[in-house]
Each structure stands twice: as C-alpha cells, then as structure tokens.
C-alpha cells in the first residue's frame, strides 16, 4: 500500500522508498474502528439474513427469510403495511418539508432583509431538539386533555375541525409526519439558503438588467441554479426517512399505534429484533428486515449518484 513513490518527486527519477509507516499509522485508528463497528457488523447482518434457526441450529436457508417476510401471512401484512407507511412518510416530507424549506430559504436570502439571523436561529431550533422532546411536546399539545390545540384553533375560528389526530388510524401517520417535518425543515432551509447565497451577484444583476425580477427571477434563474442542492436534500430526506424510528417510538410507542397505522420499517425492525410484549425477539428476521432497509437505501442512493446527479447540469462560476 505504501511502497509506491510519492508524487512529490514525480519529475525526478523513480526511487524505491522504504515503507512509509506514518501513512499506516495515520489511517489505522479510523480504519479499525470504522471497519470493526460499522462495516463488518453491516456485512454480518446481511449474512445473517440468509440464516435461520432450524431445530435449534443455525442453518443456511437461502432467500427463505425473505420469502417468509414478503409472503407469509403473519409477516407479510406487517411488512407491507410498514413499507407503505414509510413511503407515505417520505412522500409527505418531499411534498411539505422540502418545498417549505426552499420557500423559507428564498425569503431569508432576500437582500437587505432585517432580522434574518433571528428568523434563521428560531426556525433552526427544533432541528437540535431530541425526538424525545419533540415527540412528547407535540403529544401534549395535540392532546385533547390539555386543550391547547382546540384553544388555538378557536382563535382562528376552526375549533370544529379539531380532533385527536394522533389517536385516529386515518390521521395518525400524517400527524406524525408533520411533526417530523416541523422538526427537520431547518435542514433543507439551511442547505438551500447556502446555495442561494453562493449565486454570484453578477448573475442576478444581469437578470435584473434583462427585466427578470421577483417571481420569474426565482423560477427562471435561481431555481435551476439550486437544483443540485435540492437533489442533495432529497436524498438526505430519503435516507433519513427510511431509517427513521425515534419519533414514531416516542410519540406512538413501539407498537406504532393506533392499530399499526404509524408503523414504519424502523419500528418494525425494533419489534422484530428485540421483541415487544408477547412477541419474542427474532434475530434472523430482524437481520432480514435490516437487509431490506439496506437494499432500499442503497437503491435510492445509487439512483441519485448514478442517474440524477450525472444528469444534473452544474453551473461553474
């Protein structure tokens, strides 16, 4: 690994150097911790998904676990339900969180806007709070017992529309997704804000000389320039959503109620692997669900890296 000559003397004759041990020393700690605690367990988890306990012995079952997960009556219902909910969870983030992040960033980046740093600080605050705090605060606020939400809705004359959203199977998933959006809108806002600040003055001035201002300036000039940043926030949202667990767990518990209506892959993995109440923990099926999550995330990331990012036009200033 370190026997090749350094490029510092690329112009000179190639001299065989002794092993440069310092490179090994610099790389080794990170390499060991990262491999031992992250990469090897990940590979081992993928491997475990191909095994199951038969007659008390760990046996190779090929894709048997996946067949059970996708097709067996007991598992398939939970799995497809969690996958569908996870997908809805992601779609709500894409439709609400990211456009809202872009809108907030567009407003914040207006030149000579006063109090901009105050707004930024306030809107980014929820992102730093832990899911436990966010989950419980919203549980309290939306609780019909406390009555804060009905009171607030009364102020705008919408009291009749209030219902215990978190407790109803039809609305619980949307409510949880929106809580998550509330917490995370700061991230797309900041990344888009940074991208907007990076657009050079000259481009905007040139647009203004051509009479392109206001709305059409945003749509025709700025939006195309920040598309790469929108691509990044989309893939970050995707990975984050298909790996989510904490918020559903704190708001709705490990059973992801009511009636499994907020169950996503993360909570399903938790219940399957560790067991919950009457259900016993199952290592092989846990590994199988983790593998499915891995494949979904891998597919999304590859799609982004090899298709979307390559097609995207990047402008160099």
């Amino acid at each position: 690994m370190s026997n090749t000559p350094s490029t510092h003397d690329a112009t000179g004759p190639i001299i065989k150097r002794p092993t440069r041990w310092h490179i090994v020393v610099f790389l080794l700690p990170a390499f060991i911790v990262y491999s031992a605690v992250m990469i090897l367990p990940l590979i081992e988890t993928l491997r475990l998904s191909l095994f199951n306990t038969v007659d008390g012995q760990s046996t190779f079952v090929g894709l048997g676990n996946f067949k059970v997960l996708f097709g067996d009556e007991r598992w398939a219902h939970d799995f497809w339900n969690a996958l569908k909910n996870n997908f809805i969870f992601f779609v709500i983030h894409m439709l609400v969180q990211n456009p809202m992040g872009v809108a907030l960033a567009a407003m914040l980046s207006l030149p000579k806007l006063r109090f901009a740093s105050f707004y930024r600080t306030a809107i980014f605050l929820p992102t730093l709070l832990s899911f436990v705090i966010v989950g419980f605060i919203w549980k309290l606020i939306l609780s019909p017992i406390w009555g804060v939400s009905p009171f607030l809705m009364d102020l705008v004359g919408l009291k009749s529309l209030f219902s215990p959203w978190l407790g109803k199977p039809g609305s619980a998933l949307i409510a949880v997704s929106l809580i998550s959006v509330w917490q995370y809108v700061g991230i797309p806002m900041m990344l888009i804000y940074a991208a907007l600040l990076n657009i050079p003055e000259e481009v905007i001035e040139a647009a203004e000389c051509d009479g392109v201002t206001g709305w059409s300036q945003f749509w025709k000039i700025k939006l195309p320039l920040i598309l790469p940043a929108i691509g990044i926030i989309s893939i970050l949202t995707f990975v984050g959503n298909f790996n989510a667990f904490d918020l559903v767990y704190t708001v709705q518990g490990a059973l992801a109620g009511p009636d499994g209506s907020t169950d996503i892959l993360g909570t399903l993995l938790y219940r399957t692997f560790f067991g919950f109440q009457l259900q016993l923990g199952d290592r092989s099926m846990g590994a199988t669900i983790a593998t499915v999550m891995f494949l979904i995330i891998l597919a999304g990331v590859s799609l982004y890296l090899f298709v979307i990012q390559r097609r995207m036009r990047r402008y160099q200033f």
Binding site: T4, V37, Y119, L129, W138, G147, A290, T291
Partner: protein, 279 residues
C-alpha cells in the same frame, strides 16, 4: 412611487410569513418551559398564561430531581458525547491528513470505503453490533456507545476535513520537512491548528445526533447506570405520563442545555453549514 409601495407590501408579506413560521417553531418549546413552572391547576386552566406569583410552582422539578437520576444521565451523555467527539476528531483528522497529503496505492479506494458510511446508516448493522458487544462483554457500558458513535462520525469527519486539509499550503509543510519535522509533528503542529475552524464544524455536526440518539442507548446500554439523558427522559416520562408537572419539568430540563448551547454557538453552527461544508 407605486413600485416602491409594491416592494414595501412584498417586504411586509415576507416578514409576516417568516414571523409566523418562527413562532410555530419556537412556540411549543416556549409553551413547555412556561408551563413547567406552574401549578397543576394553572397548567390546565390557562395553558397560555405566563407563570404569575400566584401560579408559580416548581413541584415538577422537585419530583424529577427527587425521583429520576438525572445527574447520572447528564453525566453519561456528557462522557459519551465528549469522548466520541474527541475520537472522531482525532481519528478523522489523521485519516483525512493521510488521504489528502500522500499519494499511495489504494488512496482513492480507501477514500470511497470511508465514504460509504456517509450515506448508509450504521443503524442497519444493529443486529450484528449487539452480537459483537455481547461477545466482547461491552453491553451496558458507555464504551459500547462511544465506539458506535465514533464509527458513525468518522465518515463525514474524514470527508469534510480532507477537503479543508487540501487547502493548507504545501510550502508550509515542505518548509517544516526541511527543518527536520517528522510527518507526525507536521500533522499535529502545523496542519491541525490551521484546520481548527473545520474541526469546530465537524464537532457540532457530530454532537447533535449523538446527544439526541435514542436507538443505541435503548439497545446497547439501557441499564440504570449507563442511561443517557435522552433515554432517561424517555423512560421517566413514560412512567409519569399522568403527572403533568413532572413531565413538563423533565422536558424542560432536557431542553435547557441544548437551548443554552444553541444560543451560544448558533452563529458558528449556521456559518459552518452555510460556508459550504456540504456542497
């Protein structure tokens, strides 16, 4: 004239929108903080009112501090976060230096290998991580959490820091070499001090997910002695659901350190994000 008025309307609309959203962001936190300092009746009768001398009551805080072992939880979270950040910064910076400074066979491959962890979440390996921790007897120790968070933080740290280390002047390093500094002294005495701002950015990015994580404390270290603040407050609140004073006080106690840190460091944090650490 009419144009100026139109722009004035537009600016006020923008302010209106931003103020409304800022209120939506801050209101739940504010509501929790004010109600945690009121007596039970006032919490229910007038949730929106600031605590007055008549309704002021710290009974929730007494319950929390008397029942839950929050001092230990804070200490655990603190130890885990500080140790993990220190290791991520040290190991990450060393690896980033090796990757950005030297040309050697496998450099690109090593860079890609370390980058996998930016996109693939460490959580997916939980099944085998728990097995490994059981095998090595690290379950219910803070060491297990520190190791996991170090592994989790290294990829992004290497990525950001190697970008910054490429900007350190070669002349400076070569001057050091001519003066007889070893490669180690060049790293520790010349390069590290120069990338300190980038290290601060990485530290903030690493800290937030570690402090807030619920998954690994729940799985690897759920014992009373190793609970972190996040897990501790989750369980405490679960047990005291009906005691609103205690729940609100526990939430406020969990919010408080984050709030103070954020107000102190928000400038640095926001500058770190917007300075193009993620491009």
């Amino acid at each position: 004239m009419s144009k100026a008025r139109a722009s004035l309307t537009r600016t006020s609309l923008v302010h209106l929108a931003l103020i409304s959203y800022a209120i939506i962001s801050v209101f739940p936190v504010f509501l929790t903080l004010i109600n945690s300092m009121k007596d039970r009746n006032a919490i229910f009768r007038n949730p929106m009112q600031l605590p007055s001398p008549k309704t002021f009551d710290l009974v929730g805080y007494y319950t929390v501090l008397g029942q839950g072992d929050f001092a230990t939880y804070f200490q655990n979270s603190f130890i885990v976060t500080v140790a993990a950040i220190a290791l991520v910064l040290l190991f990450g910076a060393m690896a980033a230096f090796a990757l950005s400074e030297y040309r050697f066979r496998g450099n690109t491959l090593m860079g890609l290998y370390l980058a996998i962890g930016i996109m693939i979440p460490i959580r997916l390996g939980t099944v085998a991580i728990l097995q490994g921790m059981v095998a090595t007897g690290l379950v219910n120790t803070l060491t297990a959490l520190i190791l996991v968070y170090t592994a989790q933080g290294i990829p992004l740290a290497v990525f950001i820091l190697s970008e910054f280390m490429r900007t350190v002047s070669d002349d400076l390093k070569n001057a050091g070499r001519i003066d007889g500094l070893s490669e180690y002294s060049i790293f520790f005495r010349l390069v590290l001090p120069l990338v300190r701002p980038a290290m601060a950015t990485v530290a903030v990015f690493t800290m937030i997910p570690i402090w807030n994580d619920l998954w690994f404390p729940l799985i690897l270290a759920p014992s009373e002695a190793t609970k972190t603040v996040t897990l501790g407050s989750q369980i405490f609140i679960g047990q005291f659901v009906t005691n609103w004073n205690a729940v609100l006080a526990a939430l406020s106690l969990a919010i408080f350190p984050v709030l103070v840190l954020y107000l102190v460091f928000s400038r640095q944090l926001i500058r770190g994000i917007t300075s193009g650490a993620v491009k």
